[in-house]
Structures are given as C-alpha cells and as structure tokens.
C-alpha cells in the first residue's frame, strides 16, 4: 500500500525530470542554431522550419510526459481510496473514518541528525486521500487544458515539467508522514509557483510578481519551520503520529500552533500575508486555476486539518484564526467586487473562500472545512479555466472589454454559470451545501470571536452573491465589446479567430463542471447534515446581493455595478492600500538599510583595515626623520643624548 502512495508522489516527479531533460534532447543543437540564425536572411528559412518541426516534436513529447503520468497517478489515487474504504475501521474517530476507515503508513529510512531524527515517512488516510483526489483531478484537468492554452509557446516543455513538479510536491505535502518531509514539499510548491508565475518573464512585471509571491510565502515558511522545531523537539520526533500522540504542555502547543499559523497565512494567502495572491495572477491562467485556486493555497488549510488535535488543544490559536478569517473574508469579498480584471476578481474570491474554511476550522469543525475545501477546489478551478477560455477569446483580462459572450461562447457560458452558481451558493451547486456546512459550524462554534466571525460570514455571503453576479453579467450579457487585438503583449495568451477554444480546452472545463454541480449533493448524501433554517437565510442574503447588482446592471448595462460602493470603490480596488503600506514599511526601509550596510562596510569595516595600513605608514614617516640627510639634526640628537647620559650618570650614581 505504501508503495502505491510512494508511486503516486514519485510519478509526477519523474514526469517533471523527464520533461525538463528529455524533451529538449533531440532539438538541442537545432534550438541553439535557431537562436543564432534568428533574423539572418531568408536563406535560412530551411533551418527555421527545421527548428519549427523540432519545436512541435518537443511540444508533443512534453505533452505526453505531462499527461500520461498524471492519469496513472489519478488512477492509483482512486485505487488507493477504494483500498482504504475496505480497510479496518480505526477507533480514534479519525476524519471520515466511516467512509475511508483504512490507514497506511510506511517509512523508507530514518535520517540521524544528532538530535531529533527525520524519518522519510509516507502515510495515507481518509483526509489525505480526499485532498489527494482533488489535487490529482485538478492537475490532470489543467495539464490537458494547458496543451491547448499554450498552443505555440516555445517554453511549453519546461512549463509542463514545472506543473508536474508542483503536483508531486503537493502530493508530498498531502501524503507526508513526517513534518520535515511535509516542509520540503511545502517549499518546493513555493518554488514551482515562483517559476510558473514568472513563466512569461519577458515582461518585468510578471517576474516581479513571481519574486513577491515567493518572498511573502517564504516569510511565512520561516515561521512554519520554527513551529515544526517547537513541535518536533518537545515531542522528541518529527513524525506526525508521534507529535499528535505526545501530550505536550499547553504553552508549547500554543506557541507551536501560532508559528504554524504564520506559515498557513503565507501559503493560503490569509490576512497578514495575502498581498501576493492577486499579483500572482500575472502567471498563465491554468496555473492560477491549479496553484492559486485549488491546491497550493488549500495546503495551509489542509495542514491545520492534518494537525487538528494539536490546534484543538490550543484555543487561543483558534481565536486568532477566527479573527483573521473574519477580517480576510469580508475585506477580500469587497475587494473582489471592485476589481476590473476578471482573474483578480477570482483571486480575491479565493482569499475570501479560504477565509471561510479557516473560520470553519476556528469554529471547531474540520469536516466542514475540508468539505468546503474540496468543493471550492472544484468550482474555483472550473471558474479559472472558463476565465482562461474567455480571456483567450477576448485577448484581454479586463471585464470592461468583455460583454455579450453568451452567444459567442455557449459551452463556456454554461460551465461558468455553474461555477458562479456554486461560488454564490445557489442550491443545486456544491457551493450551497459546503458553504452552509461552514455557516452552521460557525454558528455552533464557541469562543470569544464567534459572533464577529458569524456576522462577517453572513455579510460575506451577500457580497459574494454580488460580485459573482456582477462578473457573470458583465462577461456574458450586455453589448458585445470585443475587438480582436493584433498581437497581444506576452502577458496575455493568443487570440483565436473568434471561434470557441479547441475541444482540448473545453473538455477539462466540462469535466470539472460535474463535481462543481454534484459534489454538494454527494456530500449531503454521504451524511453531511444540512440545517435548512440557516441555509435558507444565507440563500436569501446571497440572492439579495445578486438582486441589487442585477438591478444596477439593468439600469445601465455599460456602467460598472461596482459604483454601488461609491467612495469605497478606490480603496476596495487597491485592496485597502495594504500593498502600498507593505512597500513603504518593509521594502523601501530594507533596501535603504542594505545600501547603508554597503556604505558602512566600505567605510567602517574596510576603513578600519585600510586605516591600520595608513597608520603604520605614518609611524614609519616619523622614524624616517632620522635619515633625512640633515647633518645638523643628527648632531643635535647626538649631543642631546650625550647631555642626557651625563645627567643620568650624575644623578643616578
């Protein structure tokens, strides 16, 4: 069984390595040739088209390297789920014990470090398989989608390899049995997100956004590592089972969980460290779908669920999590309402939905949080893929350039409608069930911050309904405003000739539409209680929000319904100027400090070294007086010495 888990994790890694190295082998000399002969006369048309053919060969090989291992990994995950379902029901009421009671754990090797040993352990249980399925399914969908989306991108092989690397890192986090192994997967995910956000690095803005994403998450990861140290050293081992079984004193638990929270906030873009996610939209849309909607950002919530007994034993941490969630929820929703870029709307919506899951965790129900995580993963990935289709068609990210696409893109219209329905929480879609599970969890939660969290949750349902409706209306209804752009800047994918995207991009959207629609019902059937009272209330609030936006839109289809925010529109759009604050409070002072360090290093530390050199030269100047050729000076010295000796002789004897 553990071998299967190991295989699931290693297959995408092997695909990544193969993708990076193998695809280019055949074409290495041709590419270098191609670079050298670029723009040198027509005579080299022949080598140019040879290059093109090699290019397509590399493209096809890369596509195979990406998709086949992905499918195998998905199949193995399903087989694993089935195997766990037959497993012996364990007693300690683990997550979904009734559905997936089985549990397996295997250790490859134990690394002696001198104090706490690190054991390379993989473990699979209900929680990890559930998350594993989500990751594998969305990753496969994105890989297939990317084949079409990155049609004639020269760097597709490396792109697909990095996506496979990311999938294997995420699976490592999901199946890790040891905290350090989990941390390794955690950081490799951060690196892949950096590499993929900066995919179109010709435009410095993308590369700047990638660096920002990596640094902000890295800051959180340092806290995460220190949290692992606290847990590992006090429990005497880094294995998750040992950590959860050892009864640690409350103080260390609170400290450890707070530190872990820093990492979670960084990775899942929660309030203090959320500025990187909207900028991460500079990456290609499939990446936004995979990494910045479904998997990586969910990793933070997953880790809290994985170490939930530790968090439960530290109530202050849960209160902090609750407050952070409340603030993040409402702020992100309002920001989403005021955005003009479709992908940034979805990015802020992701922050808001993640805050929902955090609120559920804070309220004490990891079941509701995981349920919402999986359903959100499905419908948010769907929304991003559809957004990719729309952007593909229109050639620009901005909603103001879109309109009346209902007739032009029928399939995209329906799938995106399902997505928005799930997002807003309308009954048939999965969002309705998972969000209400969260709402009822929050309602029954205890702890001082509970009323604040519940109020903000209800408010956010309304605002979510509003921005979902706004985005939906301005994209598909109203006057058609598209004018095909000649050659889009590299930041945006290529424009098709008006027809809808090729089937290879439509199928993944269709596939993801199914769970977006039915997952809620499946969850309900599998025993997730739904309290109809509060559910109806939240539905009413959502419809109210949507209705207001519809009315405003009906009045003036051209204008942006976000005008209802009035004076708050600018701050909402700039996400309450948090970004500018960070730049002023953190970035500029650090750079000024860096220049100061260089100046002091040159002047003080190096100065001291050069100064000692000059001091010795000065000293030797003094001694040189004795040889400057002035005979009188010599004689004076001589006689002075003589007199001194005479006086000494007289005085001393």
């Amino acid at each position: 069984m553990t071998a299967v888990v190991a295989l699931i994790v290693l297959l995408p890694f092997a695909a990544a390595v193969a993708g990076l190295l193998a695809t280019r082998l055949g074409t290495r000399d041709v590419r270098a040739e191609d670079v050298r002969t670029r723009g040198v006369g027509a005579r080299d048309a022949r080598t140019a088209d040879v290059g093109a053919r090699a290019e397509r060969a590399a493209y096809r090989r890369a596509a195979w390297f990406a998709i086949v291992p992905g499918t195998v990994s998905a199949a193995l995950t399903v087989w694993l789920a089935a195997a766990l379902a037959r497993g012996t029901p364990a007693t300690d009421g683990r997550f979904w014990a009734e559905l997936l009671p089985g549990r397996t754990e295997g250790t490859l090797t134990v690394v002696e470090t001198g104090s706490v040993p690190i054991s390379l352990t993989l473990r699979a249980d209900g929680l990890s398989v559930l998350a594993g399925i989500l990751v594998v399914v969305v990753a496969l969908a994105v890989q297939v989608y990317s084949v079409g989306y990155m049609r004639d991108e020269p760097r597709y092989p490396s792109y697909s390899a990095f996506v496979s690397l990311f999938t294997s890192a995420m699976l490592l986090v999901v199946y890790a049995g040891d905290l350090i192994v989990l941390y390794a997967g955690w950081e490799i995910m951060g690196l892949c997100s950096y590499l993929l956000i900066g995919h179109w690095w010709e435009d410095r803005a993308n590369s700047r956004a990638a660096v920002k994403a990596f640094l902000v998450t890295r800051l959180g990861d340092v806290g995460f590592l220190f949290g692992i140290f606290v847990l590992g050293l006090s429990a005497g081992s880094f294995r998750i089972d040992d950590v959860l079984r050892a009864d640690l004193p409350r103080g260390t638990l609170v400290a450890a969980t707070l530190l872990l929270l820093a990492g979670v906030a960084g990775k899942s873009a929660q309030v203090p460290l959320q500025t990187w996610l909207p900028d991460a939209m500079a990456g290609p849309t499939p990446i936004s779908a995979l990494i910045h909607a479904a998997t990586m950002v969910a990793a933070g919530i997953f880790v809290v669920a994985r170490l939930y007994p530790a968090f439960l034993a530290a109530p202050p941490t849960l209160d902090v999590l609750g407050v952070v969630a409340a603030v993040g929820m409402l702020g992100a929703a309002l920001a989403a309402l005021a955005q003009d870029d479709l992908k940034r709307v979805l990015a802020y919506s992701t922050i808001s939905q993640l805050a929902y899951m955090a609120a559920a965790l804070a309220a004490g129900s990891d079941r509701a949080a995981m349920f919402h995580l999986v359903s959100h993963g499905a419908f948010k990935a769907l929304l991003f893929l559809c957004a990719g289709l729309v952007i593909h068609h229109v050639g620009s990210n901005l909603i103001s350039h879109m309109g009346g696409l209902r007739t032009a893109l029928p399939v995209t219209f329906w799938t995106m409608t399902i997505g928005f329905a799930a997002l807003a929480g309308l009954p048939p879609a999965s969002g309705f069930f998972s969000k209400d599970a969260v709402l009822s969890a929050v309602e029954h939660g205890t702890g001082p911050a509970q009323p604040l969290v519940y109020a903000s949750a209800l408010l956010t349902v309304g605002v979510t309904g509003a921005y979902a409706a706004r985005a939906w209306l301005r994209t598909f209804f109203g006057p058609a405003r598209i004018e095909p752009l000649p050659e889009p800047p590299p930041g945006v994918a290529h424009v098709f000739d008006g027809r809808e995207a090729p089937p290879s991009m439509l199928w993944p959207a269709g596939v993801l539409a199914v769970p977006a629609l039915l997952l809620g019902l499946a969850g309900w059937a599998a025993g997730v209680q739904v309290e109809w009272g509060p559910a109806a209330a939240s539905l009413a609030v959502a419809l109210l929000g949507a209705g207001i936006v519809y009315a405003l839109w009906r009045a003036a289809p051209e204008q942006d319904p976000a005008r209802l925010l009035g004076p708050f529109r600018a701050p909402c759009e700039r996400a309450f100027y948090v970004d500018a604050a960070y730049a002023a409070l953190v970035t500029r002072p650090v750079l000024r400090l860096a220049r100061g360090v260089v100046r002091t290093d040159a002047r003080v530390v190096d100065g001291a070294v050069r100064g000692s050199g000059r001091a010795t030269l000065g000293l030797s100047g003094l001694v040189r007086l004795a040889q400057n050729g002035n005979a009188q000076l010599y004689v004076t010295g001589l006689l002075a010495g003589l007199v001194l000796i005479a006086v000494a002789a007289v005085v001393l004897t």
Binding site: V40, G114, E187, W201, E202, A210, T587, A594, D606
Partner: protein, 561 residues
C-alpha cells in the same frame, strides 16, 4: 600505517614539480587534468577504504616522526568529519582543471597556473588530513601563497591590491592562530589532535582554554570569514579568476570552519562554552549583514562573495550551539556551500567571460533569452543556494537553526532563540537578493544596444547601487531601456552591454570570445556539481550518516543532544 593519505598529499606535489619541466609545461593543462584526476581517484579510493561502520574513529592513519627534536609527527588520518571535505577538494580541483582546458586563463601563462593550482591542492588536502596541530598549521599556510599568486597574476583589474589585502589579512589571522596552537601545545603537552580531542580539555585550566580558544577562534574566523573580519573576501573574489574564485569559495573557506570542528571545539570545550554566545552573535550578524550587503550590490561576483559571508554565518551559528545537531548542520552546510558556491562562481565566470563585465546594471536583462542554458543553470544554483528543501543548501541551514533552537545546556536559551529568529530572517533575505538578482539579469527583454562609444567609467565597486525594487507595488509598465535606476541615483543612462548573438567585431574593448551558450568543457565541469547538489538534497543521509557519530564523539557523549 596506510599509504593513501601520504599519496593524496604527495601526488599533487610531484605533479606540480613535474609540471615545471618545460617539456610538460606546454601541455600543462592536460597534465593538470591527469594529476587532479589521479588525486580524485585516490580520494574515492580513500572513501572506499573508509569503514562506514565506525566513522567516529580516526582511520587510515599514517604516523611518522617529522621533526624528532620538537616532537612533531607527520600524522595524517581521516574520519567522518574530514572525509567528505577531502573528496570535495579533490573533486573541485579536478573540475577546475577540466574548466581550464576549455577556457584558458586571460592572464596567459597556463603552465604557471597549473603549477600554482597543484600546490594549492597539496595545501588544501593536507589541511583536511593533518592530525598534528603544527602540521595542520603548515598546510594552512601553504595554501596562502599560491592563492595570492592566482589572484595577483591572473586576476581582474584591481588584482594587486586585492591580493595583498587577502594575504596580509589571512597571515595576520594565522599568526594569532599559531599563538593559540602554541598555548595548547604548552598547556596540554602534546600536539596530537586525536589525543587532545580524546581528553576533552581535561588537562587544561579554564582560563588557558578560553585564551587558546579566543586566539584559535580569531585565526579561523578570519578564514571562514566571520562578520567583522570579512572585508578581504569580496575584493579577493571580485578580482580572482574563475578558477581562483571557485577554489577560494569552495575549499579555502571550509578550512576555517573545519578548524573549528577539528581543533577549537573538541580540544577546548570550556573555552568554547565561554565564547559560544559571542561566536553566535557574530555569526548571526554575519548572516544578516551578508544578505543585506548582497541586496545592494552591483557586481555579480561581489554579490556571491557576500552571500558566502551569509552562508558561513549559518555554519558558525551551527558551531556556536555546541550541540551534535548544530555541528552536523555546520559540516553539512560546509560541504553544500562548497558545491553550490563553486557552481555559482563557475557561472559568474562564464557570464563575465561572455559579457566582458559582471556589473549587473550593464548586463541588462534577458539572459534566459540569449544564453538559455547558462541562465537556467544560474537559476538552479541560486535556488539551491537560497536553501530550497530537496537541494543540498537546505539541510545544513535547517540543522544549524535546529541546533540554535536548543543549544547545549550551559548556553542561554533566549539568546540563542534570538539568534535563530535572526537566522531565519537572514534566510528570507537570502531568498530576496538571489531572486532580485535573477529577475534583473535573467528575466526581462534583452535590449540590443551597442555600449556607449567611449569606455564606460567603471562603477566603483561598492557605491550605492541602482538597485531594483523586487516586491514593488502594483506592477507599472517598464521602460524599454530596462534601466532600473533607483530614484536617488543620478539617472545617467547606462546602456547594457548587449553583444548580440552573432555580432562580431566592431565592439569596443578587447575582442570578446564568440557569444556561445554553454560549451562542452563548462558542462563537464558543472554537471557533477549539479548532480551532487541534487543527490545530497534528496538523500542527506549519505552525508549525515558519516558525520553524526564523528560529531558525537568529538563533542564527547556527555553533551546532551
């Protein structure tokens, strides 16, 4: 009595002597490759002959009287701590020769360079094998002179000053080191490291131990470079040739930190315990200082030199914690830093060779477009260097921080927690300056403009640089000139050096090598390093299994983990 260690030291020495013969000198580089390959084979044989069952005891020893009058013995041997470093030295030197084959040194006289490098190798390997205090000191000094010549004869523009500062600074350090060693000799009565380590400083008074540790520590700190004593490193690196930089960063820095692990801490435990907080404080200052200095550098090689100061800060933090896991982390970071920074300097040399300059502002951007393989290897090396788990750089730093998290019983816990926190922030800053450099040099559009007619006034190395603001606010459209000048700096238009592919002749300055992507020799020199970085990253047990028992025996089992 094994002949292997003596052969390891003897073969390069003989190689150097033979290389001076005129007949051999004109095919010097080939001869150099042969000798260094021989040494590498011997090193691998040493690793094979080493019994991994008991890495803690000294094996393959050869102990001969050297100067009977003074009681000095020519005592060589290897254990878990020194084995990886010996193999690393042999490997790096061999790779340097391979790199030299494809890229003859600018300063000419390849024969003399080969002789110098072989003598350098004698010194380096001898230092790691020596088990007699003064023998260690002799090899420690033998390394300085050839390194001086490598920098002074084949270096860059201001090489003479840099070489003189290098040798004077390190010589001063070694003088203090010698005093420390003599104090140990007089107090303990013997020079044999194995015996001294075995005693765990029982025979020596506490004050003598503190004094000896201070002297030895200062001498070694100059070499590792600890923070305030580091100013020779950036100058030496900026001016050294590629091969010199690789060996300077890859091996010479390790000799300083190896000294801590082999001499200072095991032989003088009470001295170490007394001065550990200071060592930790300077180490952490080094981490923060080094990373901040890198953020504001304009010269690529100078930036990598300051990054070495930062990384060696982690090594010293590991030592300062005086715990087995701390020392383990330090030794692991040592080897990892040798591999990664060796690769970084190879790449920086390659960039400097192709562009003719290492000034990041004049390099312009778009290296991924023009030199895809060099740029992707540079990205790999930077990512490894900023400590990504799964690559070698991470384990050393993580274990050092873990050591600092719970130092040995005698040290004050809150102080070391502060050190750990600053070390963590240092890691974030490390990531910041590496990614900032990558985004300036490899990303962006390669602007095809010929440099200004007249020679560009060389930017004086450490004037406040026009640094690019990595995590800037909302991305604003970037000007075509790709000149990222800080508002403060006089925005004089600095045209990036853009020797476009295929553009020949007509360039100001000396005729530059053809602007080709990575050559066969470079690949041959770099791929082993890449492979080892990934191997130690994915499988740290390969190194930790050897060093953990050795470190526990050095610290004496009495010390709580």
């Amino acid at each position: 009595m094994s002949w292997l260690p003596i052969a390891l030291v003897g073969v390069p020495l003989l190689g150097a002597l033979v290389a001076t013969v005129p007949a051999v000198r004109d095919r010097a580089v080939a001869w150099g490759i042969a000798v260094s390959a021989g040494v590498l084979v011997l090193a691998v044989a040493l690793a094979a002959a080493f019994e991994y069952a008991r890495p803690a005891d000294m094996q393959l020893q050869s102990d001969r009287p050297w100067i009977p009058g003074l009681g000095l013995r020519f005592h060589l041997g290897v254990d878990g701590v020194s084995l990886p470093l010996v193999v690393l030295t042999a490997l790096l030197t061999f790779l340097c020769f391979v790199h030299l084959a494809g890229h003859p040194p600018e300063g000419g006289r390849p024969g003399a360079l080969v002789v110098t490098l072989l003598v350098l190798e004698v010194g380096m390997i001898g230092t790691f094998l020596a088990l007699d205090l003064l023998l260690f000191f002799v090899f420690f000094e033998v390394v300085l002179v050839p390194m001086y010549f490598v920098i002074a004869l084949w270096g860059g523009a201001a090489r003479r000053a840099a070489a003189v500062k290098f040798i004077l600074y390190t010589l001063l350090g070694s003088a203090v080191l010698l005093i420390g060693l003599l104090v140990v000799w007089t107090q303990a009565g013997t020079l044999d490291m194995v015996a001294l380590a075995g005693r765990h400083g029982s025979g020596m008074a506490r004050s003598a131990q503190i004094l000896a540790f201070l002297a030895i520590g200062l001498g070694l700190a100059v070499k590792t470079p600890m923070w305030p004593l580091h100013t020779w490193l950036p100058d030496a690196h900026t001016e050294a040739p590629t091969v010199g930089s690789v060996l300077l960063a890859g091996v010479l820095l390790k000799m300083g930190s190896y000294g801590f692990a082999r001499i200072a801490i095991p032989v003088l435990p009470e001295g170490a315990a007394a001065l550990a907080p200071w060592l930790g404080a300077f180490a952490v200052a080094g981490i923060a200082y080094g990373s901040l200095a890198c953020l504001a550098q304009r010269d690529l090689k100078r930036m990598i030199a300051y990054s070495s100061v930062g990384h060696m800060g982690f090594v010293l933090l590991g030592f300062a914690s005086l715990t087995p896991v701390g020392l383990n982390g330090a030794l692991f970071a040592n080897v990892a830093h040798g591999l990664i920074t060796g690769l970084l300097f190879f790449l920086a040399g390659a960039v400097k060779e192709r562009y003719g300059t290492a000034d990041m502002v004049r390099l312009g951007g778009g290296m991924l477009r023009r030199l895809p393989y060099v740029a992707s290897l540079l990205t790999f090396a930077c990512v490894a260097s900023l400590g990504l788990p799964g690559l070698a750089g991470f384990w050393g730093e993580m274990l050092a921080l873990l050591g600092a998290f719970r130092p040995v019983a005698g040290l004050s816990r809150p102080l070391f927690l502060v050190f750990m926190a600053v070390g963590g922030l240092g890691a974030v800053l490390t990531a910041a300056y590496f990614l900032a450099m990558l985004s300036r040099v490899t990303h962006g559009r390669a602007v095809e403009t010929v440099p200004l007619a007249g020679p560009l006034e060389p930017p004086e190395p450490d004037e406040p640089s026009g640094l690019y603001e990595p995590p800037g606010p909302l991305a604003t459209a970037e000007g075509v000139r790709e000149v990222l000048s800080e508002a403060g700096e006089a925005a004089k238009p600095v045209e990036p050096v853009a020797a476009d592919a295929g553009q020949t002749g007509g360039q100001t300055g000396k005729a530059r090598r053809p602007f080709r992507d990575v050559t066969a020799h470079e690949l041959a020199a770099w791929l082993p390093l890449v492979a080892l970085i990934v191997l130690f990253g994915l499988w740290p047990k390969a190194l930790l299994a050897v060093t953990t028992p050795a470190v526990q025996s050095l610290l004496g089992s009495g010390v709580a983990p």
